[in-house]
Symmetry: C2
Subunit: 430 residues, 2 copies
């Protein structure tokens, strides 16, 4: 972990810049997969699943019975953990759309308001890999359920036997999802974009994934299908002063570093001792970490900066815009008010990122790669739209008419003006 001391502000941009990856070549692959899935439907899905996952698929959609049978196989300890996480995530997200907006009478006879509508059809992607990402099912499924999306489909790659793990099935049932298809990768995204015999076409795609999945989600935009947010490698930034426990901070940094070799880990401290102690702890804890090789690679991209004061450290953090920020400092609460750019903020020595990743209730689908400057993390809002409505009375429109006509004239749009004048030419009543 490279360490800088009081790094001057003009040097910040080179450290806040994320490593870029070239995805141009993936566009060609996406084009091919989408074209095949569009033409051949399920047949293409079977072909790609054989090719990429080495699995001969039977039925693509999993029957309700299979989901239930799989879910029952889950051990009770994991069931309880999922139940607790579900309850907390539900509790926190359920508060997100409670505000009912009243209609606004902007002037006499002119009333405008907004109404919330869930997105009709949503597609949740849960990546495969060495272990079932059960937390992803909860983080995507709970807000979809609260929003009230009418049709929810979950796509996830099958294991070697063509099945979906008990944990995924249990969590899916928990959030009320019964439409599960065993498809992963680009072909899963293409299928949910275009629809096939077995797969529902959706309006918006959600969920993490590798660079293939991400390229496919971007490609789906050409077909009018939206995505939750742009993605990149996961990140954590920890701000630590002398009140921090070096072993806690080291553990938090490593829990990010184990995600993948491209994860970024940033440590900001106010003194050399804290920096040194934490880095020693990292070395020490690394030794016994199962995903040590991954973590070591991630640490190569990572860095530590020692600043004179917390205030400058927070300025740097805002400039970096981390996905997660942990404040292991005195007066964490008051300092947190100065954080402008971050996905999620963890306060104090007992709020590790793991808590938010799994069970405290906040969503773990967060903007990475600097996107925290312009995106929020996933929430119930990600699954709804707000439509505007207006109702003008005849006198209301008459009163507002002059302003509308003048502005239409200024913009040279005569038919816009006429839509007003024609309504007052004859004095019809109905």
């Amino acid at each position: 972990m490279k360490t800088y001391r009081n790094l001057a502000r003009d040097k910040w941009p080179q450290l806040t810049k994320r490593p870029t990856s070239n995805t141009e070549n993936l566009v060609q692959l996406a084009k091919q997969v989408f074209t095949d899935v569009d033409r051949e439907g399920d047949r293409a899905l079977r072909k790609y699943t054989k090719q990429f996952d080495n699995v001969e698929l039977g039925s693509i959609r999993i029957s309700q019975k299979e989901i239930e049978d799989q879910a029952q196989k889950l051990d009770s300890k994991t069931k309880t953990a999922i139940d607790i996480a579900y309850r907390n995530i539900y509790e926190f997200h359920a508060k997100q759309l409670t505000s009912l907006e009243s209609p606004v009478a902007v002037q006499s006879g002119v009333v405008c308001w907004r109404e919330i509508r869930p997105i009709d059809r949503v597609g949740l992607y849960v990546p495969g890999g060495s272990a079932p990402l059960v937390s992803t099912v909860l983080m995507l499924g709970v807000p979809a359920k609260i929003a009230g999306s009418r049709q929810v489909i979950l796509a996830t790659p099958p294991d070697k036997n063509g099945t979906i793990s008990p944990a995924i099935c249990y969590a899916a049932l928990k959030v009320g999802i019964t439409n599960i298809v065993r498809i992963g990768g680009m072909q899963a995204i293409a299928a949910m974009t275009l629809g096939t015999e077995s797969v529902l076409a959706v309006d918006k795609l959600f969920g993490p994934g590798n660079q293939y999945v991400m390229a496919a989600k971007q490609y789906a935009e050409r077909y009018g299908v939206a995505s939750d947010m742009p993605a990149g490698p996961s990140e954590v930034l920890v701000v630590a002063d002398q009140s921090a426990y070096p072993e806690f901070v080291a553990a938090d940094l490593l829990s990010q570093a184990e995600h993948g070799p491209d994860s970024q880990v940033v440590l900001l401290t106010t003194n050399q001792t804290t920096a040194t102690d934490i880095q020693k702890e990292i070395e020490c804890q690394l030794a016994t970490l199962p995903r040590k090789d991954i973590a070591i690679k991630a640490l190569v991209n990572s860095f530590c900066i020692i600043f004179d004061d917390i205030s400058t450290a927070i300025d740097f953090a805002n400039s970096y815009a981390p996905e997660h920020i942990i404040l292991s400092i005195r007066r964490a609460r008051s300092t947190s008010k100065r954080i402008n750019n971050a996905g999620s903020v963890f306060l104090g020595n007992y709020s590790p990122e793991s808590a938010g990743d799994y069970a405290s209730g906040t969503n773990h689908t967060l903007p990475t790669n600097g996107w925290a400057r312009s995106f929020s993390g996933l929430s119930v809002e990600s699954f709804v739209r707000r439509m505007t409505f207006q109702k003008l009375t005849k006198p209301g429109l008459k009163k507002l008419g002059t302003a509308i006509k003048t502005l239409a004239e200024t913009e040279g749009l005569d038919a816009h003006k006429r839509a007003i004048t024609i309504r007052f030419q004859k004095d019809k009543e109905k």
Copy 2:
């Protein structure tokens, strides 16, 4: 205007599909413009402004004095119209972020909450063309102001003399914008993405534009800069029954058709007479329309469907997902509750689209091209993010710890688990 009668549902997809435009070739041009602006800054902006707008630029940024001098030239009638529109738009948008969310104590010792932060730096693009788009300044500027974005820049192409119109300057001052640059097209988007000597780099881009501007906004994503929403040609769908006035509906349809030759206009009625009367009125009103040639071209892409009942018409409208929908029908209010996919809804005979385009208070920046299925129109929310926060006490984390550890184990992430266990190995107190 082609007319269908009781079009079967399996024929809907071909009519709800929008004409696609191929923008692949624009990516190359965007790449060149972005590369030039990145390398040469203002010099590139001058070069492209000469090339595309045929204007030799002096200073790129407009001085405060020039803005004020220009604004003063505006006639008082237009000033009043802008004042009225501003007040209504402000009034409506100011109500959008008033709900303060309380922290949620998801369980004892675990508190989560969200806080709102404005996006730091936003770029508003106001297209040029034959007339100043003063309404765009208000529709982008008002929510930016309410959100509290710290830095707001407005880019708009210069007229032949290199100046910006009095109306734009007046509206900009009204919404508190004093950073205006006279740059249009792809080079404006590139400049606000990358920053130059005269132009502020931003976190998010807003505003309409032609296909060049749209391609540039998409290209900006590669540099980590977000955009408000994908764009396409403007659209209106009118549902009319016998209570509608044919001349009003015709005027509303034409006010959309005059936008551009690629605008789409859809009419749904419940009887032949209404359909015939409206189409006759269109013919009649077309004759005296200054932008007749544009409207005629738009009408070629447009269509009318006569359905047996309003309910089926609304199903079609939801499937089409129009940018604007006007309900010129009896019981418009109760019917509007069934509309799921639309940008903005206009109720009754005296709520023309023109009202929402200019002055009723709703935002006119709306999802087109079917994006209403997944996107909301522009609002104060478009200019903010909601960050999540969490604070766990030691007992709170201890209680939640088992669930976190179990889920981390299920996902095979050992360091995530250790971030919990390490906190309870020694019983430190601080």
